[in-house]
C-alpha cells in the first residue's frame, strides 16, 4: 500500500505555520544554508539528478530547464514563479502559499542562486488577496532575517524579490502570456521559439516554474537527489500534492509519492460520498481527458496516465458521482475555455464559441442529428492547430466525454440533461429546485 509522504504539507497544521519562526522551527532554511556552500552548477545538477519534473502541468524536467539558460553574458537573468493557479480543479499552490509561503521563498532563493538570478518574481493570480498578504509578509520576514537582499547570509549573493498580483485571466498561467502580463501588457501567448530560457522577461534568459516545483527544491538540496528519488517511480520521482475535490467524503490535499492511485487516495479520503458511486474524474484538471471507474488503478505518474490516454497535469482530481450529467459538466468547462480564450488565434477563439453553441443545445435536449460528429470535427479543428496549449486543453473534455459517455450526448437530442440528471441530486446540500425550464421543454416534445 502506498502511504502519504508529506514534505511541503508536513507542518501546515502547526500554530501560525505561515510565519518564519514556525518554518525555521520545523527545520526551514537548512536547504538554503547547504546550497550556499555548494557551487551553483552543483545545485542545478542535484535538481537534475533528482528527476523533479515541473508540477505546473506539463511535467518538464526542472533541472534540465535550468540548464538550458545560455552562458552568462553579464546581463540579468530572471526567475519567474508561476503562481497563477487557475486551471479548473487545481487547488494546491494557493493553499500551499497560504499555509507555508516560506517554502516557496526558500525555493526561490536557492533556485535564483543556482541559475545566477538577482531579481526574482512571483506572479500570483489577483483573486486571492489573503495569499498575497501572506506572501508579502513572508518576503518581509525573510528580508529582515537576511535571507533576501544583499549578501544573503554572508554569502555575497544578492537577490531582490518582487511579488506581483495579476488581475484575473486564466491564460496568464501560460508561461509566455504570463511574461507579457508581467511586462504590463495584455496576457497573450508569445510564439515559441524563442523559449523563455533564451528570451523571456524583458527578452532576457528566464526560468519560469510552478510554485510547487520551486517549493520542492529546498528539501531536494537538503536531502540530496537520492532522497527525492526514493519516492515515486523511476521516471516520475518524488512527492506531489494530490487535490481531491467533488463527490468524495473528505476532499482535500493529500501529499503522496507519484504513482499512487485514485483507489488508494479515495480509501484515505473516505471514498465516494455515502450511497453513491464514481462516474468520472479528471486526473489533472479540466484540460486533461477525463477518466472513469475503469481507471481507478492507473498509477498517477506521468507515464502511466499518458499511456491511459490522459495527462497527469496538476493532479487536480475532480471526482463526480453517478448523479452528474457529463454533458452539463463538459458544457460548463467549455464555457470557461470560451470565456478565457485570449482571442489571439482563430481556431481557439472561434472554435470554443461554436463548441459552446452546440453543447448548450445538447444540454437543453435540443441537439440536432449530427451534433456529435460536429463536436468532434470542431475539436479536430482546434487540436494541434491552436497557438498555445489552451486550445488543446479545451477539447479534452469534449473528446473524452464523447468517448466514454457518447450515449449521454445522443440523449441530448431529445432529453434535457437536467431531466436525466436532476441537479439537486448532485448538490452537497438539500434545496428545492426552481421550476425547471428543461422539464418544460421536455414536456413540449
Amino acid at each position: 500500500m502506498t502511504t502519504l509522504t508529506p514534505v511541503l504539507s508536513k507542518s501546515w497544521d502547526a500554530e501560525r505555520s505561515w510565519t518564519l519562526a514556525s518554518y525555521e522551527s520545523a527545520g526551514g532554511y537548512a536547504g538554503l544554508r547547504k546550497a550556499l556552500t555548494m557551487a551553483p552548477a552543483d545545485v542545478v545538477t542535484t535538481v537534475k539528478d533528482s528527476g523533479l519534473r515541473g508540477r505546473g502541468g506539463a511535467g518538464f524536467p526542472t533541472g534540465m530547464k535550468w540548464s538550458f539558460l545560455p552562458a552568462p553574458d553579464g546581463g540579468p537573468r530572471y526567475l519567474v514563479v508561476n503562481a497563477d493557479e487557475s486551471e479548473p480543479g487545481t487547488c494546491k499552490d494557493i493553499p500551499a502559499m497560504m499555509a507555508s509561503p516560506q517554502h516557496l521563498i526558500e525555493g526561490v532563493i536557492i533556485t535564483s542562486y543556482a541559475i545566477g538570478c538577482h531579481h526574482a518574481f512571483i506572479y500570483l493570480r489577483g483573486e486571492v488577496v489573503h495569499v498575497y498578504r501572506r506572501l508579502l509578509e513572508a518576503a518581509r520576514e525573510a528580508r529582515e532575517a537576511g535571507y533576501l537582499g544583499s549578501n544573503i547570509l554572508g554569502s555575497g549573493f544578492d537577490l531582490e524579490l518582487t511579488i506581483h498580483a495579476g488581475a484575473g485571466a486564466y491564460i496568464c498561467g501560460e508561461e509566455t502570456a504570463l511574461l507579457d502580463s508581467l511586462e504590463g501588457r495584455r496576457g497573450q501567448p508569445r510564439l515559441k521559439p524563442p523559449f523563455p530560457a533564451v528570451a523571456g522577461l524583458y527578452a532576457r534568459p528566464t526560468v519560469v516554474n510552478n510554485v510547487e516545483s520551486i517549493a520542492s527544491v529546498p528539501a531536494i538540496v537538503q536531502g540530496g537527489a537520492s532522497w527525492f528519488t526514493s519516492m515515486g517511480t523511476e521516471r516520475s520521482a518524488g512527492h506531489g500534492l494530490f487535490s481531491l475535490s467533488g463527490h468524495v467524503t473528505r476532499p482535500g490535499q493529500y501529499e503522496a509519492p507519484l504513482g499512487i492511485t485514485l483507489r488508494e487516495l479515495l480509501d484515505m479520503a473516505g471514498g465516494i460520498r455515502a450511497g453513491h458511486q464514481l462516474k468520472f474524474w479528471t486526473p489533472g484538471g479540466s484540460s486533461t481527458p477525463m477518466f472513469t471507474a475503469e481507471h481507478l488503478d492507473v498509477p498517477l505518474d506521468y507515464e502511466s496516465v499518458g499511456a491511459a490516454k490522459s495527462m497527469l497535469g496538476t493532479r487536480a482530481l475532480q471526482v463526480f458521482d453517478e448523479t452528474v450529467s457529463v454533458v452539463r459538466a463538459v458544457t460548463r468547462w467549455l464555457e470557461f475555455y470560451k470565456h478565457e480564450s485570449c482571442g489571439k488565434c482563430t481556431p481557439c477563439r472561434e472554435g470554443t464559441y461554436w463548441l459552446v453553441q452546440v453543447l448548450k443545445r445538447l444540454e437543453a435536449g435540443r441537439g440536432e442529428p449530427g451534433d456529435i460528429e460536429l463536436l468532434l470535427e470542431l475539436s479536430g479543428n482546434i487540436f494541434g492547430k491552436a497557438f498555445c496549449a489552451l486550445g488543446d486543453g479545451a477539447v479534452s473534455p469534449v473528446v473524452s466525454g464523447i468517448e466514454h459517455f457518447r450515449e449521454e450526448f445522443e440523449a441530448g437530442m431529445h432529453t434535457p440533461a437536467d431531466v436525466l440528471f436532476p441537479p439537486e441530486k448532485s448538490a452537497l446540500f438539500e434545496y428545492t429546485p426552481s421550476p425547471r425550464t428543461g422539464a418544460q421543454l421536455a414536456g413540449a416534445h
Binding site: P6, G187, H247, A427, L428
Partner: protein, 244 residues
C-alpha cells in the same frame, strides 16, 4: 498610418485634486521601483486606481498613462483584458459565486440562483445601495471547499444558498463579516485593491493556516505514522558538500 500624440503633461490629464494626485503619484513611484522596467508597474497601478475610484476610471487611465509614458489607448487595451479591472463603479463588496463546473455541480448553480433572486440583480450588476456587485466567477483554486463564494477575493468556503443569502444580508446591513480563510474582518473593494497594488494592510497574520481540507493529508499522515524519508542528511550522497 496613425498619428501618434505625445502624452500631455499630467496636470491636464488627471482629474484628481492635488493632494490625491500627489499621494497616488508617490505610491505609483513605489510600485515602479519594484521592477527593472517601468511598464511592469501597469497592472498594480491599475489596482491602485481601483483603490481610489472603485473602478478603472477615465482619470485613472490618464494617470496610469502619464505615470508610465503610455497612451491612454495603450492603458485601456490592457485594462479591458483583465476581469478584475472594472469598467464602471464597483460596489463596496464584490460577491463572486463560483459557477465553474465543480462548484456549480456541488451546488454553486443553486447558490447563484438564490442570491441573484434575493438581490434582484444579475452578473456584473450592483444593488441600488451600491453595496454589492454580483459576479459569476471561475474556479478560484478552492475546489476542495466547494461550493465556494469569494467576497472581495476572500474565501467563503463550503457555502449553501442559506449561508450565501445570510452573507449578502450581513454585508448590506453593515454587520461584521469574517471570511473562512482570511482576515478577521472583511475589507472593502477599495481597501483590497490597495493590497493588490502591493501595499500590505497589516492583516497577514490573521486567520488560519487553512481549513480542514487543506490539512487532511497532513493530519492523516501523522495519525498513521506515515512520513517521507528522513531529511537530515542520511540519504544524501557522500560526495555532496557538508553543511557548514
Amino acid at each position: 498610418m496613425t498619428v501618434e500624440h505625445a502624452p500631455e503633461p499630467p496636470v491636464h490629464r488627471t482629474g484628481y485634486d492635488e493632494a490625491t494626485r500627489a499621494r497616488l503619484a508617490d505610491e505609483a513611484a513605489q510600485i515602479v521601483a519594484r521592477y527593472p522596467q517601468a511598464r511592469s508597474a501597469l497592472l498594480p497601478i491599475l489596482h491602485l486606481v481601483q483603490s481610489e475610484d472603485g473602478y478603472v476610471s477615465p482619470r485613472g487611465i490618464a494617470f496610469a498613462a502619464a505615470t508610465l509614458g503610455l497612451t491612454t489607448a495603450q492603458v485601456s487595451a490592457v485594462a479591458t483584458f483583465y476581469t478584475q479591472f472594472k469598467r464602471h463603479p464597483n460596489g463596496t463588496y464584490t460577491v463572486g459565486v463560483c459557477t465553474n463546473t465543480l462548484c456549480a455541480i456541488m451546488g454553486g448553480d443553486a447558490i447563484w440562483d438564490e442570491v441573484a433572486d434575493h438581490l434582484g440583480i444579475g452578473h456584473d450588476e450592483t444593488t441600488p445601495d451600491g453595496l454589492v456587485t454580483l459576479e459569476r466567477i471561475e474556479c478560484n483554486a478552492a475546489c476542495d471547499y466547494a461550493p465556494v463564494v469569494m467576497v472581495n477575493w476572500e474565501f467563503f468556503d463550503n457555502q449553501t444558498p442559506t449561508s450565501a443569502v445570510a452573507l449578502v444580508d450581513d454585508l448590506r446591513a453593515g454587520r461584521p463579516v469574517k471570511p473562512t480563510r482570511g482576515p478577521d474582518q472583511l475589507a472593502t473593494f477599495k481597501e483590497v485593491s490597495h493590497v493588490l497594488a502591493g501595499f500590505p494592510d497589516g492583516h497577514a497574520n490573521e486567520g488560519p493556516s487553512g481549513g480542514v481540507p487543506t490539512m487532511r493529508g497532513t493530519v492523516l499522515a501523522r495519525e498513521n505514522g506515515w512520513a517521507a524519508p528522513e531529511l537530515t542528511g542520511a540519504a544524501a550522497p557522500a560526495d555532496e558538500p557538508k553543511e557548514s
